[in-house]
């Protein structure tokens, strides 16, 4: 905590508490302790929450002047002496207490003004301030706060640099769904004046509520926050801790201090920080950056004229953007802003040659996508840049090089999530009508339909789709997204080398990401709706059996939805290293399989293998006669040497059963180093579906070489030549398959 702020806030609190005290004594004398007090807005609508901040934080029901006496006693007890010149302490506790005392004093002062008929405030020129928010309005807004339709509110104190800036700030806030509360002026001028001069409507309907001209009226903002917690947080009056926490986590509010900040405003800021509401100032004041009470920074100074931007309007926009970031507000865009339809219905669309407007990548072309993580300050959210010619200038049917570079930043973003998010680009872009996307990394192939271009689809819209979808689907880890699309051939050629270096690095990282390197695996229970006892345990070297969820995907998914289907599974004490059996894994599987599966090994097919649900890519089964295993893939409808087709095999093992000797798995599990190691790994593979063998030739070859059996692939039978066990054995003998001479598998 800055000593300067601490000193100012405590000094401010002392002053305002003394003032409140004086006012109270005076009122008690003149009006008497039984004078009733009730908050009402300018239309006369009231509240059942008494003076809400006092009621919420202290539990005291203030109904008459006399009820304020214990409140002021409490406020005084919270005040500490000013920090000494020669002493440097964190001051945080003292400052926050001073902040709380300030809030009690503010509400006391406004309460007394009500008894005197001075609230809601009326200006000489006839303008009426709103005063406190009524219960009816608080309910309607409170609901929206809870369900996220409205992120929170901005309490603005002071006046903006100019009328133009004032209007821009308010419009920016409105566009983000934030409520705007206006309180306090600077030397007689406030944002209320500015908006009045510009004919901006204020009131409940426009989400801009003018509270009053004194800093004390800022208490109505916190009153609203308190009522929200009492009504919708299930918090009891007096449970100040939960009221403050509720607001910290659910009400995305902040204070925007425009113009000079005096002691009282510092004191009020300290009060707001208690609620977890940070303060952003457009003047030079000390920053308080360490996070803790508020979600992120406590006090951020952003001197208006130093904000980068081509004019004041752009600076105003950035200022609001910064406020939103500091408070951690996530903005959701309901609809992808593009001129063609968007939705899952378009994902399978094919763009035929005759309909082709333009293609990026594909055979003989060059197109790649690269998503990279950057620092928060290095990414400008929503910025979409096109480098090179745009869609409408390309010749019909031509092939153009293209690079899609996505920069993301987020406080919870991790480097390891880059490939996870990058792989989603495929799915996101495919949702656009007339747009087909295949492949990934530098084998990306995009085809655009003539109709889409005719409807006005341009390169920019690729950026729009990615920006919207990344925010909507991954808002938990992504705060900012910026996209650059390169169609300038020189640029693409230059960047592709950088991107390839990154892909290589990622591959190396993936290769290094071994089961041994981590202490946590992840679960997936998505399939329990069909297979109630099935749990996929996903380790770095084995994907979920549908092939869709790898270890990193699960980790990201857990980050995004901590209550979701992917939970961390701590390995715990090792029971058998070779089998891959751990206490933690066993316990997790037992608990999540309705207590059905008691043991679970990660490395064996024969001893307590993983259960199989209905959606595996492949099934593996032993062929005892051949002393090996066979693998049939879902897309193979033919007969296999086990005497069963894929479908029959599935009927045997599916539904969440644990069947030694049979197991469902993902395709890319086959070349994994951890492919049934207990049974001898890939050397046991005697038969596989032909399509699988062809599709994965490269990876399989590599795996065979790695295992010291470079010729194995040719020795493995497939459906083209062999479909019975009788045919299989002579085939294996002829080829000299290693499984025949291995230890018996049973």
């Amino acid at each position: 905590m800055s000593k300067f702020i601490a000193t100012s806030a405590i000094r401010g609190a002392q002053g305002i508490v003394a003032e409140a005290d004086e006012l109270l004594q005076d009122a008690l004398q003149k009006l008497g302790p039984d004078t009733p007090i009730a908050f009402k807005d300018k239309a006369g609508a009231g509240t059942t929450f008494y003076l809400p901040v006092i009621y919420g934080l202290m539990g005291n029901k203030v109904e008459k002047l006399g009820d304020l006496v214990p409140v002021m006693e409490h406020a005084r007890s919270l005040l500490q002496p000013l920090p000494r010149e020669d002493l440097w302490l964190p001051y945080l506790g003292e400052t926050l207490d001073a902040g709380a005392a300030t809030l009690f004093a503010f509400e006391t002062i406004e309460g007394i003004r009500f008894t005197k008929g001075e609230q809601p405030e009326k200006r000489k020129d006839g303008f009426e301030f709103n005063g406190p928010i009524s219960d009816v309005q608080a309910r309607s807004w409170g609901i929206q706060l809870v369900d996220g339709r409205m992120p929170g509110f901005a309490a603005i104190v002071g006046a903006a640099k100019s009328n133009e800036v004032a209007v821009k700030i308010v419009r920016e806030l409105q566009s983000k769904g934030q409520l705007t509360f206006l309180c306090a002026d600077n030397n007689g001028r406030s944002m209320v004046d500015q908006l009045l001069e510009e004919n901006v409507d204020m009131g409940y309907d426009t989400y801009i509520v003018p509270f009053g001209s004194d800093t004390t009226s800022a208490i109505y903002a916190l009153g609203f926050a308190t009522v929200a917690a009492l009504s919708f947080g299930g918090v009891a009056p007096g449970d100040f801790r939960r009221i403050l926490l509720y607001n910290k986590f659910r009400c995305f509010a902040f204070v925007l201090a425009l113009g000079p900040v005096d002691d009282i405003k510092y004191a009020a800021a300290a009060g707001a920080i208690n609620y977890g509401f940070p303060v952003i100032a457009d003047t030079v004041i000390p920053n308080i950056l360490p996070t803790g009470i508020t979600r992120y920074e406590h006090v951020v100074s952003m001197p208006f004229d130093d904000i980068p931007g081509k004019d004041d309007l752009e600076r105003a926009e950035r200022l609001v953007q910064r406020c939103v970031e500091v408070r951690g507000i996530k903005i959701k865009v309901a609809k992808v802003p593009i001129p063609v339809a968007y939705g899952p219905a378009f994902e399978g669309e094919v763009v035929r040659r005759a309909d082709l407007a333009i293609e990026f990548g594909g055979k003989g072309g060059m197109c790649f996508e690269w998503l990279r993580m950057k620092d928060l300050d290095d990414v400008e959210d929503g910025k979409i840049e096109i480098v090179g010619p745009d869609m409408d200038t390309f010749e019909e049917g031509s092939k153009v090089p293209m690079a899609i570079v996505v920069d993301v930043a987020g406080r919870k973003m991790q480097k390891d999530f880059e490939p996870v998010l990058e792989r989603q680009i495929h799915h996101m872009l495919n949702g656009a009508e007339g747009f087909s996307h295949q492949g990934q990394r530098d084998i990306t192939w995009i085809r655009v339909h003539k109709n889409a271009v005719a409807k006005g689809l341009t390169l920019r819209h690729i950026g729009d789709i990615l920006h919207t979808c990344l925010h909507n689907d991954f808002g938990a880890i992504v705060d900012k997204v910026q996209i650059t699309l390169y169609s300038d051939p020189g640029k693409v050629a230059e960047l592709i080398d950088q991107a390839r270096a990154v892909y290589k690095e990622r591959n190396a990282r993936m290769a290094g990401l071994t089961d041994e390197a981590v202490d946590t695996y992840y679960s997936c229970t998505l399939c329990q709706s069909f297979a109630p006892n099935h749990v996929c345990v996903i380790n770095p070297e084995r994907v979920g059996l549908c092939g869709a969820y790898g270890w990193l995907d699960c980790r990201a998914s857990f980050e995004i939805n901590p209550n979701g289907p992917n939970q961390p599974v701590l390995k715990g004490r090792v029971i058998d290293e070779v089998l891959g059996e751990w206490e933690g894994v066993n316990q997790f599987v037992l608990e999540h399989s309705n207590k059905v599966i008691e043991r679970f090994t990660v490395y064996s097919l024969m001893d307590a293998p993983m259960t199989t649900c209905g959606c595996c890519e492949c099934v593996m089964a032993i062929i005892p006669e051949a002393n090996g295993v066979m693998i049939v893939s879902r897309d193979d409808y033919g007969m296999t040497p086990s005497g069963m087709t894929f479908t029959t095999l599935m009927a045997t093992v599916g539904g969440g059963l644990q069947t030694p000797g049979m197991m469902g798995h993902g395709k890319i599990y086959i070349p994994s180093k951890k492919f049934i190691p207990v049974e001898g790994g890939i050397k046991r593979l005697v038969w596989m579906s032909q399509n699988l063998k062809e599709e994965m030739a490269e990876e399989l070859k590599e795996a065979c070489e790695r295992e010291g059996v470079p010729d194995l692939l040719d020795q493995i039978a497939d459906g083209s030549a062999v479909t019975t066990v009788e045919e299989l054995l002579p085939f294996l003998e002829e080829k000299g398959h290693p499984a025949l001479t291995m230890d018996p598998i049973i």
């Binding site: 309910r139 609901i143 369900d147 299930g234 709706s529 209550n563 309705n594």
Partner: protein, 315 residues
Amino acid sequence: MPDVEIPIEKWTGKVKEVKLGGGGRKEVVVGGEVTLPFLAFEGSNPNPPRIAIEIHDKEPIAWPASLLAAWGDAVKDPGTWAKKAVEFGAEIICLKLLSAHPEGGNTGAAEAKAVVDKVLSAVDLPLIVLGPGVAEKDNDILPAASDAAKGQRIALGNCEEKNYRTIGAVCLSDGHIAIAKTPLDINLCKQLNIMLSDLGVPADSILMDPDTGALGYGIEYGYSINERLRLAALGGDAMTSFPIINHAGGEVWRQKEAKASEGVPDAWGNPEERGVLFEEITTSTVINAGCDIVVMCHPKAIERVKATIDKLAGK
């Protein structure tokens, strides 16, 4: 007869008790089970399954004649309908605000409030109020419905993934019970319960609706999901240990077999008796799986299910 030792299951968990009504309204407590339904030798479940009767805020358009005939003109007015439901043995009234559906009248918050007021003043039974099931409309009208019944502890629904925050919040604000609805999936059900709890909805204010199909329309899924939830709860899982509400009646009367009176084989028998049997069997099945509140439609089926519950409970 040889002596047979009856195996007794020891459960560690218990289903939460949820009280509907109060504030001048009759009270009904559901939940509290310590063992599976009707196993008196294993433990004593404090509250029997309860029957709620479904009424609508407008005349049903899709109900077959056999069902409409049983109610007569009462279906023309929700207040009268609710009174009649009391006569037919309702323990709870389940009011569906169907006219708020964008394609069914698209009425708003004021109308919702008026209907709830009407039903509240017509009968003194506890109330369940359901929106049209379109998230935006639910968010629009349920806060008003909730406000009208403030302090009388109604159950409000359905909370689904898209709107649970809004409904959960108004329940908190007005002291009501949130109904968490998920589509036949134990994990989604649990997840929604966790999210409602995170929102601050207390454990004694949540009902789960894990959904079901009618007999022949996936009742095995309905049975299994109910049973698994209950087994998990009894096994000690707090996030599945809320009482279960089930719309067996509504599921049945949507189906062709309950509706068709012409152009079907003679073997299908009398349409009314067929529908009643259909509802009776579907409802008794989910009760045996552990449901705490069953929402029903036909007075005859209600009478029979009541008798079944009494018999199973040894009365």
